[in-house]
């Protein structure tokens, strides 16, 4: 009967109830989006850094990967040293450079990565073949769009341009073997990957044995921090960065996102709380006479309170359910806008749905909204019966 009365009360003013549910839905959607935003970039960065299983990254001393154009000289020797260290299972060298795609009189400059295909962790192949052969290259969609080439085409490339001689240096004919998505690059950035040896040979000179980055996989259970320290001792010209440290560093840099999300999420909860309190209080206020009569005919205080709180619960559950869908749609839309910012890695998401965090926050909203029914419920249950009936009779 309490459920029937609560339902009846909500159905009495369908427009008001609908607006309240929508209000809670907006509040829930905002809360969900804030939770997704607060965890999204962290989760996304962590996933990006650990997805290929590389636990350590070696960069030129004092730099971050591709932070500067500095390179690790004597890459072969460094690699040899690394192989002697216990716990290192795979080494993936990466050399970042610019590749000129020659076409007729002109050329298109693209970002190029020299990689070792068998252990590379920079791209995911989408079509065609990997750059396994010395004259093979894989490129992303932006590359294909900008150059007009297709997978299977043989193209002329150059590693540099001599401005004095007005000629391209380190020229080579390569086959466009496949299309790939580069994980750490913006999707709009035209990029290609060629075998490391090929790119080093094209660059020539000192760069013939240089790399920008060395990524290391380690044996499970190894003390990564100890290994990191021993690498820096063995190869002093490099900085070894553990993925866990990088993740921690990213999390620290993103802490303001969490603070922002916390503030806006708290505001969402407050809005939901006030909305339900206001609506249910108004609902109670306009039926004081009915509630007093219910008390008079023997309905207990507890049952009156339960009925009123049930109204708040129904509004909050319906609103939260609706808000879940609304929040996901909004997050997807906002994510698309934010991902279009130039320079961001294609694999980065700002809004990531993590079920446990999302459901926990939405459960918090429901609990808050139910609590919001507490005041009107207390007010309804503690009405002085005779005085209320007298006031109602006079009015």
């Amino acid at each position: 009967m309490r459920a029937a009365l609560a339902r009846a009360s909500l159905q009495r003013h369908p427009l008001r109830t609908t607006l309240a549910v929508l209000g809670v839905a907006v509040s829930a959607a905002m809360l969900l989006d804030m939770v997704m935003l607060s965890t999204g970039m962290q989760v996304s960065f962590r996933a990006l850094l650990v997805r290929q299983g590389f636990e350590l990254r070696l960069t030129p001393k004092g730099t971050l990967p591709f932070d500067t154009e500095a390179r690790i000289a004597g890459a072969s020797a460094a690699e040899s040293v690394l192989r002697t260290l216990p716990g290192v299972t795979d080494i993936s060298p990466v050399l970042g450079s610019t590749l000129h795609i020659l076409r007729g009189e002109g050329a298109v400059a693209v970002f190029a990565l020299g990689i070792r295909p068998a252990v590379q962790g920079d791209y995911a192949l989408e079509a065609g073949h990997d750059a396994s052969a010395a004259d093979a290259v894989v490129a992303n969609s932006a590359f294909l769009e900008r150059t007009g080439y297709q997978v299977g085409d043989t193209i002329s490339v150059a590693a540099g341009y001599d401005a004095q001689l007005r000629t391209y240096t380190g020229r080579r004919r390569v086959v466009l073997a496949g299309r790939a998505r580069f994980l750490y690059l913006a999707s709009a950035q035209a990029a290609a990957a060629v075998p490391l040896k090929t790119l080093q040979a094209m660059l020539g000179g000192a760069d013939a044995d240089r790399v920008s980055l060395l990524m290391l996989r380690t044996r499970p259970g190894i003390d990564v921090e100890a290994l990191r320290a021993s690498i820096e001792r063995a190869i002093p010209r490099t900085t070894a960065i553990a993925t866990a440290d990088a993740v921690r560093s990213v999390e620290e840099r993103l802490s303001y996102f969490r603070q922002l999300a916390l503030i806006l999420g708290t505001i969402s909860l407050l809005v939901g709380f006030l909305l339900v309190t206001t609506l249910v209080t108004v609902s109670v206020q306009e039926r004081l006479g009915e509630l007093a009569v219910m008390r008079a005919i023997g309905v207990s205080r507890a049952h009156i309170a339960q009925q009123v709180m049930l109204e708040g619960l129904v509004i909050s559950v319906l609103g939260t359910g609706l808000g879940l869908g609304l929040g996901l749609v909004t997050a997807d839309y906002l994510n698309q806008i934010l991902r279009a910012f130039p320079g961001l890695p294609a694999a980065i998401d700002f809004f990531v749905f993590e079920a446990q965090a999302a459901y926990r926050s939405l459960a918090l909203l429901v609990a808050t909204a139910v609590l919001a029914g507490g005041f009107p419920a207390w007010r309804a249950a503690s009405l002085p019966i005779a005085a209320t009936l007298r006031t109602e009779a006079v009015s």
Binding site: M1, R12, V293, I297, I385
Partner: protein
């Protein structure tokens, strides 16, 4: 020869004061009365004389400032709130001037409300609600909502609701106050029928016809009972609905 049966209701030295503008308003002053099982009693008097306040005290929805109210030998004026609520649920039926039906519930559901509160099984309360609606002449209006019923019909539903848990005492506060003359007469007939069927009724009213139908008339002035007389010639032969 004396009647040894204890009264259904006994009020002793009942008083109810209300604070108002820094002073104390004496709504009920030193009222002592007894009501026997099966009585039909009307409380009359000018507006503000304390009729409704007295009814609230008799029905345990208000606490007296002084004095006691006993119903079936139990002191309801000293009961805790929870106990008084339960007592009202099982022993007292209330009818109000403004009906106060739940607008989104049907006539049957309104009547079921106190039965559900008392824990009566759904099927049993549904059957009783339907038979009560038939009793008050609304057997064909079971699923109508209050807004689909006339004032007289709503008051009949309210009476059926008051009878739901077979109360020992039916208290009515101006039950014909919102009804036209014709509907009011129908209500008077219904009260007579209820009393004839054994329900003890105390009604507060300004309606001379309703008071005239009662077997006993208590006159109040300024919070006190100034006369308490048997009505020697209540109208007879009203047709029950």
């Amino acid at each position: 020869m004396t009647n040894a049966a204890p009264p259904l209701l006994r009020a002793r030295n009942l008083a109810r004061d209300y604070p108002f503008a820094g002073e104390s308003v004496h709504a009920v002053r030193d009222v002592t009365l007894e009501i026997k099982e099966g009585e039909y009693c009307a409380i009359v008097g000018p507006s503000g004389c304390g009729k409704s306040s007295l009814l609230n005290l008799l029905g345990a929805i208000d606490r007296p400032t002084r004095g006691t109210v006993e119903i079936r030998g139990r002191d309801v004026s000293g009961m805790r709130e929870r106990e008084a609520t339960s007592f009202r649920l099982h022993n007292i039926g209330f009818v109000f001037q403004r009906f106060y039906l739940m607008p989104m519930l049907s006539a049957r559901e309104n009547i079921e409300l106190p039965m559900a509160e008392a824990g009566m099984p759904r099927r049993e309360r549904r059957e009783r609600a339907q038979s009560l609606l038939a009793y008050v002449g609304l057997g064909a209006r079971v699923n109508h909502r209050p807004s689909q019923l006339s004032g007289g019909e709503q008051q009949r539903v309210a009476i059926a609701r008051a009878l739901a848990n077979r109360p020992a005492l039916l208290l009515a506060d101006e039950p014909t106050g919102e009804l036209d003359l014709h509907t009011g007469r129908e209500m008077i007939a219904l009260f007579e029928q209820l009393n004839a069927d054994g329900t003890t009724i105390v009604v507060v009213t300004h309606d001379e016809a309703l008071a005239g139908a009662a077997r006993r008339v208590i006159h109040m002035v300024d919070g006190r009972i100034v006369s308490d007389v048997a009505n020697e010639h209540p109208p007879q032969g009203q047709s029950s609905p």
